[in-house]
């Protein structure tokens, strides 16, 4: 499965330093800018291939796609054009695969699809993934990224918060292990539901993580926010994130955490 952009330009620009690097360079650096170190958003497929053994995994719940519950003017058309442009069909993709030999359910929110906004379909995919992990007693890893609610779906979007939080709580009460990985940006309803309910919370360096958006806060308090506020490092400092993990170290860290929670991992302890 591939969901990468199709593009023939062999170079790609960094949104941080605006320097262009070769695609091969980006790839060998895990899509972290070889020049300035800024993290690039990556696709669900890439995430899965990064953590699952032999890049092998099975996508689940792919049939669930966004509806238009409020008959919102222009939404159907926009959905269609975003799907065509991004080659994605929803912001959340779920898959089952093995992490160092441990069968695991993983979900990735892809912020390139409607800025990772929470739709009914995304909420349903996430909920079903949690339910699958619960049913089969598998560990759960969710890579969050979201700009907030899908406005065009109104309350149907908002209620996904309750639905997913309910599912995580049930999973947790049944003893399930849930590792939440916060990636850039994780804001709004996603931050206020499943993303902050992990047993372990990891974050990628520099990721923006918060409930209210920085602009809204600035408008409310009437001043500029200090540099670094709501960044992964800030949350680590204040203890809402257990560890900041480089993308290149992610699989190792997940493996270690699975082992520490009693899973039988294969292939030694390379940390």
């Amino acid at each position: 499965m591939t969901e990468e952009y199709i593009d023939t330009d062999p170079f790609e620009m960094c949104k941080g330093c605006h320097r262009r690097s070769r695609r091969s360079q980006w790839e060998s650096h895990y899509y972290v800018c070889p020049v300035c170190g800024k993290y690039k958003n990556v696709s669900a497929g890439y995430r899965f291939s990064l953590i699952f053994d032999n890049k092998s995994f099975k996508v689940i719940n792919r049939g669930i796609t966004s509806d238009d519950p409020l008959n919102f003017p222009g939404y159907k058309e926009k959905l269609r054009s975003v799907k065509e442009r991004t080659h994605l069909n929803e912001t959340a993709v779920a898959a089952v695969g093995k992490i160092s030999g441990v069968k695991t359910v993983a979900v990735v929110l892809d912020s390139r699809f409607f800025m990772g906004s929470m739709s009914q379909a995304a909420g349903e995919r996430i909920t079903r993934a949690i339910e699958a992990a619960d049913k089969h007693k598998l560990p759960l890893v969710i890579f969050s990224a979201s700009g907030g609610a899908r406005m065009q779906e109104g309350m149907f979007s908002l209620w996904q918060m309750a639905k997913t939080a309910d599912a995580v709580e049930e999973f947790s009460r049944n003893g399930g292990l849930y590792i939440s990985v916060l990636t850039h940006p994780t804001t709004g309803g996603v931050t206020a539901s499943f993303a902050t309910l992990g047993d372990i919370t990891l974050a990628e360096p520099g990721a923006l993580i918060g409930f209210a958006g920085p602009r809204v806060i600035e408008q409310t308090i009437g001043k500029k926010l200090p540099k670094g506020f709501q960044r992964a490092e800030y949350l680590y400092q204040h203890g809402f994130v257990d560890a900041i993990v480089e993308r290149s170290e992610l699989k190792k860290t997940l493996t270690k955490l699975l082992m520490l929670h009693g899973c039988k991992v294969t292939g030694g302890t390379p940390w």
Partner: protein, 317 residues
Amino acid sequence: MVDKIFEQTERIDKKIQDIQSEQKELNVSGKEDKYFENEEKIDHLKKLRSDLLDQCRDLTPEDHVYIARLSNRPHIKDFIGALFTDFFEQRGDHLCDEDEAIYGGIALFHKIPVTVLGHRKGRTVEENVACRFGMPSPEGYRKAMRMFKEAEKFNRPIITFIDTPGAYPGMEAEAHGQGEAIARSLAMMSHLKVPVISVVTGEGNSGGALALSVANRILMLKYAVYSVLSPEGFCSILFKDTSKKTEACSLMHLTADELYQNKMADEIIDEPLGGASFDPVTVYDELDRAIYRNLKELQKMSPSQLLADRHRKFRRI
């Protein structure tokens, strides 16, 4: 539109009051001509007022938002005063601080001990500031969770009143984990072993409203609104243009009727023409009956049935 009507009714009400106090004096002094002249005036004004309010039969969603936010609309303390007895306030999250944007405690509802709580906007300017106009900090949600847990321990039903512009977007709120506090409240509410009834009384915006309304039954006052975000926020995100509020309100499906159609509101509590503030007592009466009826139904359920019932409600969305 409704703001114009309310401006005029307010003026008329003022006039009626003035004349009525004059009438009292006339009644004593015995100037009958003037007295009857005034009576006619009052009748005329009342007719005017009633005609004006008649226009409230057909309100736009934006009008609903306007009414939902009226500061003279009944607030949490009014509802608690009218519907409950023997209220005992509980304070604080017992972790960090007291948040006045959430108000609640234990009370009797038809002699049944219940936990009752909700957003508090405050009425005076000082109260507004202390309550941040009903926008809770993480401490507020954790205070609510503390009350939920205690309600569960003592097997008390929970009744929440929803009226908030949303969670407070401030630096300290973020530093203290606003997102996680809301998430934990959602998770906890979803698994409460006691009946939970939520009443949306004013505006219910965003996760800040949802955090207190993962309920078995959601009742909405006729002019209350409940939405993914404030219409202003919605405009700025979707249209990058805050002047399109009228259009936004229509698109958002935020009125009680629309939520009822979408099976998110279970019941609508009628309000008089112009809204609850024009006759709060009738609203209290209907709300009282509705809560009582729903509570009695829910009390027949076992804890696991209550959980399953709540789960179904949110799972199917």
